[in-house]
Amino acid sequence: MSKSILEMEPESSAKIIELDGSEEFKRKLATLNIRIGKTIKKIAMQPFRGPIIIEVDATKVTIGRGIASKIIVEY
């Protein structure tokens, strides 16, 4: 089963199985180590369609919801 990280519960972790975007999009995410196969933890989600904070390895990253909806994890 798969879902985007938007639908993940805060404080939960999951493995990335798909990045739904162009090569450029994937390249950009990879610079902060957001890649297929990586486990990410969702830290928080800001209200009013605000950004999402995730943690990959030791790094916390703030990402907009558009980007977040294209990061697909397995559960």
């Binding site: 390249r27 928080a44 800001q46 605000g50 390895d57 790094t59």
Partner: protein, 577 residues
């Protein structure tokens, strides 16, 4: 001359390296994007002078991403000579992702040495890196360092001469795919890095608290409020207990100079006008009275206090978290969260504020951020003067002023987002961990910024005082005042003498605010005059930076917005107050 380039991801400590190697002081903070332009310095290495270049951070060398072009340019064949080398600075708590850039550099076959920075943090984060093995696998020297404390620097400097191109990964033949790179990196990581479970430190728990919406927003509000009171407390007490007594001590000397120089033109330049037969530090407008008192005893204490507090927030790593919390609102204005950085720096001085708009990716964002900052963000120097002036009318005067600026900022943001072509990319930003600020780097940064104020602001203020005297002496003020009278008097409801202050405002806004004092304005006029002085035009130093950052076409647009918005705001305030 031989060059050494410092290249690495954003916020890995390159500037701290630069400062340590060259002895040149640069601003260092704990957020990605502090360095926005190339910084150059020199050091002596084996009795030979070499040039050290601090390159703004970049995640990769792929063309097509504007922020990364600076680094791509500087390692291109044209600039990079055969005896130049690269120090690749790596955040050792994020080894895997930092190695991506390292691999791209290695593939170019350039002579390199790696500094594994933040080495001290690997210990309490439970990260173990086998440095020797990493060095063997990459085939270039690797040195663990902690730039903030200087740990590992001796070895690094000693081993610079061992820098070399990696035989194993240099690839002049064909480009390597990103997937291939990541799998090579993965293999290395498996071989050299071990992670142990770690205990959370108290400030790591604070990291989560300050970013979750339910706790983060009250936390940020409390921090900002605390900062505001800290700045006030420090500023006021510096004035009361240090600078005012200092000037009062000098008063007898000034008085004797005054009576000695009699009633000459020289007297009006040096001492200025006497108010009720006495020297008035604020109103006299002489070189060694107002020209020194305003910058040193009225403005400097607040500038100092502001930068002390800002430096602390920067070094702890609070700003990217604040950026995350305000991101939603900023998007309504066509910006994103990181726009808090130009706004906050602008509160200190609009010049670094305008420069830091470079942290934003697109032209549209930079235009909106620079324009809002120039119109609605008064610098600390100006605020100190406004505070001194309006406080005696009560808090309501200050509230009206700042509320007006806030409302204008919101309207401008909403309007510009709709009217200005271009895109606002989605937020994608790394949040650094909280770090304990180092006393030494805090004080160094504070000193650099205060020094900039002293060496840059005071000459301008003296020039301002001089020009005021010339303008009055030659009657030019009177002349311009008459021309501008319809706008100033009818539209804005100010006396035409206020024109002088608006003219000097191009040079220094703080002294311009001070010039309003002798005009005997009503509270309403004072509020309007101060609001207009904040908004109508940036000071000349800010203007120059904005021109450079935005280009002439956009600067004309931005200026037009400033003038129109100021006139409308002044007119509305004149009607409703």
């Amino acid at each position: 001359m031989k060059k050494i380039l410092l290249i690495g991801n954003p916020n890995v400590g390159k500037s701290t390296f630069f400062s340590r190697l060259t002895g040149v002081d640069v601003v260092i903070s704990n957020y990605p994007g502090t360095t926005v332009e190339l910084k150059k310095g020199k050091m002596i290495l084996d009795s030979q002078t070499v040039e050290i270049i601090d390159v703004p951070g970049n995640y990769s060398l792929d063309a097509g991403c504007k922020a990364e072009e600076v680094a791509v340019d500087i390692i291109s064949k044209k600039v990079f000579n055969d005896d130049d080398i690269i120090i690749n600075v790596i955040d050792s708590t994020n080894l895997e992702r930092n190695l991506f850039l390292t691999f791209q550099l290695l593939e170019k076959g350039l002579p390199m040495i790696i500094a594994l920075n933040f080495w001290n943090e690997t210990r309490h984060k439970g990260i173990k890196i086998d440095v020797d093995r990493l060095e063997k696998l990459l085939d270039i020297p690797v040195v663990p360092t902690t730039a903030l404390t200087g740990e590992g620097f001796k070895e690094l400097v000693y081993r610079i001469k061992e820098a070399k191109a990696s035989k194993d990964y240099s690839a002049d033949k064909k480009p390597i795919s990103n997937d291939k790179r990541w799998s090579q990196i993965g293999a290395i990581i498996k071989n050299v890095q071990k992670l142990h479970s770690k205990k959370h430190r108290w400030y790591e728990r604070l990291e989560d608290i300050s970013i979750k919406p339910r706790t983060g927003i009250p936390f940020a509000a409390a921090v900002l409020l605390l900062c505001f009171f800290a700045i006030r407390l420090i500023g006021e007490n510096l004035i009361r207990y240090v600078f005012d007594p200092l000037f009062n001590l000098a008063l007898p000397l000034l008085n004797s100079i005054s009576s000695f120089s009699g009633n000459s033109f020289l007297h009006s330049i040096i001492i200025g006008n006497l108010v009720d037969g006495k020297i008035d530090f604020i109103q006299s407008m002489g070189f060694i009275t107002t020209g020194l008192y305003v910058p040193i005893a009225m403005v400097l204490p607040y500038v100092f206090a502001f930068y002390l507090v800002l430096g602390f927030l920067e070094d702890v790593g609070f700003l990217p978290r604040l950026a995350t919390l305000v991101d939603t609102i900023m998007h309504r204005f066509g910006l994103h969260g990181l726009a808090v950085i130009p706004m906050l720096l602008g509160l200190g001085c609009n010049v670094p504020g305008a420069m830091s708009t470079r942290v934003l990716e697109t032209k549209k964002q930079r235009f909106i951020a620079a324009t809002i900052m120039a119109i609605c963000v008064p610098c600390m120097a100006q605020m100190a003067m406004i505070y001194g002036l309006l406080a005696k009318y009560g808090v309501s005067a200050l509230i009206i002023l700042f509320l007006t600026l806030l409302i204008i900022a919101i309207i401008l943001g909403l309007a510009m987002h709709r009217l200005i072509k271009g895109v606002t990319p989605e937020t994608f930003m790394e949040i650094p961990p909280y770090r304990m600020p180092m006393f030494k780097s805090l004080t160094k940064k504070l000193w650099m910024r205060t020094k900039y104020f002293i060496t840059d602001a005071i000459p301008y203020m003296l020039l301002g005082v001089f020009i005021v005297n010339i303008l009055y002496f030659t009657g030019i003020i009177e002349f311009i005042g008459n021309i501008a009278a319809p706008v100033v008097v009818k539209l804005l409801g100010l006396p035409k003498e206020a024109v002088a202050s608006l003219i000097i405002g191009f040079l220094r806004k703080d002294i311009a605010v001070g010039m309003l004092i002798p005009l005997g304005l009503t509270m309403k006029q004072m509020i309007i005059a101060c609001t207009i002085l904040v908004m109508y035009f940036p000071c000349i130093a800010t203007f120059a930076v904005m021109l450079k950052e935005l280009g002439i076409k956009d600067m004309i647009k931005s200026t037009a917005i400033m003038v129109v918005v100021t006139l409308i705001t002044g007119w509305i305030l004149n009607m409703i107050l």
